[in-house]
């Protein structure tokens, strides 16, 4: 073919040799779609991977946009495994696609594991995944995992002379879909589909399985990477591989186990956390959380769910760290709290550590101080930056006995100063990490008691909702977008996320709602009739979308080795995302008005 068609200079293609690129593209066609036209639909068979050469493609799940693909983006890497798509893909504007045949992509993946890893690791977003050190680390973690670590199922061995009926019983009893067949020196496999064939061919049930078995086994050594097994299954369209050790079959690895390994990388992380014997072990597990975030986000997991999952992992990690830092007698007398976004389960990337301690009066305060200092320092080393506002258990103001805390709370409520609302906000979102809940409940009940009927005080607390009045910045942002080459930046946390989270927090306090997660609070507020159901759903949707934007931005920044911030860059948004952002911010504004009416703030 002639030289210089479409230059595949960007990831993941940049690692391929010229010959590999040519193999990939020589069987590729070009496809052109008008705006609004459907490209792929669920359950349709896909035989190609699409590279966007021009235009924008939206991925839709039941009417909701769940993904956007622009120039140099690839979809649908998930279907590479299964050959089927789950969502609809629609051209948002005129779109030109390069259709790379699935077989050619798989062949290239076999030639170049780095190229393959890009798809199977599914960090399929914009540049860097394989070009940058940071990104590489993310999937290397996954792709250095040996098959041994996934855990193959212990195989059931049967003699070749066993009857088909016996094999069926063995499969049923062992909950497996394949048995290994011993035939002298040979080892074969008898699977569910062999069984079906035998039935279909009316083979008597007592005839030996040996004649109906495959003896060409697809094997992987237990020391090989998980990736090899996945590739083998995909290439040969088989459901399982036989795991060997020194050439001897020791297990069967079904595809379903592999896939669940990929989607629940988090299980591995939590195992790592349990097994960590020291801080170094936890630091490693902490980086595993980051990998899980990037992977699960790329897999299309919804952001609120992802946040809750991350919270569960974070909590476990903090609990384990606390066990390592606090001597048993200290740990027994302390309740460790995660505050703020960590407590709500809305922190995904590690942005800061907010924590506090409630300890029994019987403990030596110096011993508590020492454990708290070690804990906060440990968190810092795992990668949780210190809290800018000093809300950390190593600060005297953020640890105390139940009595200390009740006094503090009374001060916050009855003689507030300008920082008080922030302290209260953090405290209202507390969740226990370790230690008895009773101490925490005593403080929390005390706070609810103070707030009861204090409408004016609640109004004061709610007023912080307009703390960051961003209307001007917001207007500027949208105006900038009208200019084709103008770039605009906007703080999505201050402008969109905070007003919703804070308003919901205050309303929940007033209504005596105990859950701290914003989505759970919204649900409860709707159930209690404080907020109309439709409005609550809108708020949840807007919040989820903005959290997703923030996460994408943060992951992108991190991939380029930058600090994650809360700023949305218009250049990184597609028009679909802009529409959704516009809508989300409008909902946040409407909610601000709702809250200020509710508390008669009279400022709007």
């Amino acid at each position: 073919m002639a030289a210089g068609r479409f230059d595949l200079y960007f990831p993941p293609f940049n690692g391929l040799t010229a010959a590999q690129k040519e193999n990939l593209t020589e069987k590729a066609d070009l496809l052109f779609f008008g705006g609004g036209e459907e490209i792929l639909a669920p359950e349709r068979k896909v035989d190609a991977l699409y590279l966007v050469l021009k235009g924008i493609v939206g991925e839709m799940d039941a009417g909701e946009v769940t993904g956007v693909y622009r120039e140099e983006d690839i979809f649908d890497s998930r279907s590479l495994l299964t050959g089927r798509v789950e969502n609809r893909f629609v051209a948002h504007e005129e779109t030109l696609l390069y259709a790379l045949p699935r077989r050619a992509v798989l062949a290239a993946a076999e030639d170049s594991p780095e190229f393959g890893a890009y798809f199977f690791a599914r960090i399929s977003e914009k540049p860097g995944a394989s070009a940058r050190g940071g990104g590489q680390g993310e999937w290397r973690n996954m792709f250095t995992t040996a098959i041994r670590d996934v855990g193959a199922r212990t195989p059931v061995f049967l003699d070749a002379s066993s009857s088909i009926a016996l094999a069926a019983r063995a499969m049923r009893e062992n909950h497996c879909r394949a048995v290994l067949v011993l035939d002298g020196e040979r080892v074969g496999i008898f699977t569910m589909s062999n069984f079906c064939d035998a039935i279909a061919d009316a083979v008597p049930r007592d005839s030996p399985i040996g004649a109906r078995s495959h003896y060409r086994l697809y094997c992987c050594d237990e020391d090989e990477h998980v990736f090899s097994a996945l590739l083998l299954m995909t290439r040969h369209n088989i459901q399982r591989v036989v795991v060997t050790k020194k050439g001897k079959p020791t297990g069967v690895l079904p595809q379903i186990d592999l896939l669940s390994f990929f989607s629940s990388h988090s299980h591995l992380v939590s195992k790592q956390i349990e097994q960590a014997a020291d801080l170094d072990g936890l630091i490693e597990a902490g980086s595993g959380i980051d990998t899980a975030i990037a992977t699960l986000n790329a897999t299309g997991m919804k952001t609120p769910q992802l946040a809750r999952l991350v919270q569960a992992l974070d909590m476990r990690l903090m609990e384990r760290l606390w066990q390592l830092c606090a001597p048993p007698e200290v740990a027994a007398g302390c309740t460790l709290l995660a505050l703020g976004s960590g407590g709500r389960g809305e922190q995904i990337l590690k942005t800061d550590q907010d924590n506090a301690l409630i300890f029994s009066g019987a403990l030596d305060p110096a011993a508590v101080e020492k454990a708290a200092a070690a804990f906060c320092d440990g968190l810092l080393r795992i990668g949780y930056p210190p809290c800018g506002g000093g809300i950390m258990a190593n600060q005297p103001a953020w640890r105390g006995t139940v009595r200390d805390w009740q006094e503090r709370i009374a001060r916050w409520v009855y003689s507030p100063d300008k920082d008080t609302w922030m302290h209260l906000a953090a405290w209202l979102d507390a969740e226990t990490v370790a230690g008895g809940r009773a101490r925490f409940d005593a403080c929390r009940r005390y706070l609810s008691g103070c707030a009861q009927g204090e409408r004016q005080w609640l109004g004061w607390l709610a007023r912080a909702i307009s703390q960051f009045d961003h209307l001007q910045a917001e207007n500027h942002f949208w105006r900038q977008l009208l200019h084709r080459h103008g770039e605009a930046r906007f703080d999505i946390k201050k402008g969109g996320i905070f007003p919703i989270v804070h308003g919901v927090r205050v309303l929940a306090l007033e209504a005596g709602i105990m859950p701290v997660n914003t989505f759970a609070r919204l649900e409860a507020l709707a159930a209690a009739g404080v907020i109309e159901r439709v409005f609550a759903d809108d708020l949840a949707g807007a919040l989820a979308f903005m959290m997703k934007l923030r996460l994408d931005g943060g992951l992108g920044a991190r991939r380029w080795g930058k600090e994650a911030d809360n700023v949305v860059d218009s250049g990184a948004l597609s028009s679909l995302e802009r529409d959704s952002l516009r809508e989300s911010l409008a909902i946040a504004r409407k909610f601000k008005t709702f809250v200020s009416r509710h508390y008669q703030l009279g400022r709007f």
């Binding site: 073919m1 002639a2 030289a3 210089g4 068609r5 479409f6 020589e26 069987k27 590729a28 066609d29 070009l30 496809l31 052109f32 779609f33 008008g34 705006g35 609004g36 036209e37 050469l53 021009k54 009417g63 005129e94 030109l96 259709a99 045949p101």
Partner: protein, 207 residues
């Protein structure tokens, strides 16, 4: 589409051995481009031919036709600079008749598409007439005139720049390196699809 009378007449003049070939029309369009030694049809000799089928919205690049042709005389140096085919490149090419027979098999009776297609077809006919007994009977679709109609509709009476680069820009098509017969044939195909999109009534968008 019904065959025009002229096309039918032209087809009748074609030697019987080839006639059946031109009955093969599956509705696909073939985008075609030639590189030659000169821009003067009388002197021009074929150097390269590329053709790619457009099947609905698919540009079938994977099954495209491409041939390097060995000319009777070496390409002159001015021209080498345009198409990048040096005498050494074309020396290993196919004999013209051989390349053209293969081309005929590829295009069959399908509609041809090109940019200033008239020139390419004129050069091809110079070679094909002795073979076929007549000129190519295929329907022809001129990209630049379709483009002209679109711009006219947008800006009635305005001067319309029909340069290749301008068309690529206005149609927002990714630019491929030029003067490679295959690249040009593919680019023409992309422009064709982009143009058809502009003539199509807009879809209603359900969100």
């Amino acid at each position: 589409m019904r065959e025009s009378l002229f096309a039918a007449l032209r087809k009748r003049r074609i030697r019987p051995a080839y006639r059946a070939l031109f009955d093969q029309d599956d509705g696909q369009i073939v985008s075609i481009d030639c590189e030659t030694t000169s821009l003067d049809v009388k002197q021009a000799e074929l150097l390269a031919i590329a053709a790619v089928k457009i099947d609905g919205r698919r540009i079938a690049a994977s099954t495209a036709f491409q041939a390097i042709v060995r000319p009777g005389s070496a390409p002159d140096s001015d021209n080498v600079r345009i198409h990048g085919l040096r005498p050494a490149d074309v020396r290993g090419g196919a004999a013209p008749e051989e390349a053209l027979r293969a081309l005929l098999d590829f295009i069959g009776g399908r509609t041809l598409l090109g940019y200033y297609l008239e020139y390419d077809v004129a050069v091809l006919n110079k070679y094909l007439k002795p073979l076929l007994g007549a000129a190519l009977p295929n329907r022809k679709r001129e990209l630049s005139s379709r483009y002209y109609n679109w711009r006219q509709r947008l800006y009635p009476g305005a001067y319309i720049d029909l340069r290749w680069e301008t068309m690529i820009r206005r149609l927002a098509i990714p630019a491929l390196p030029r003067h490679d017969a295959m690249n040009d044939a593919i680019t023409a195909a992309m422009m064709h699809l982009a143009l058809e999109e502009r003539f199509r009534p807009p879809l209603s968008r359900d969100k």
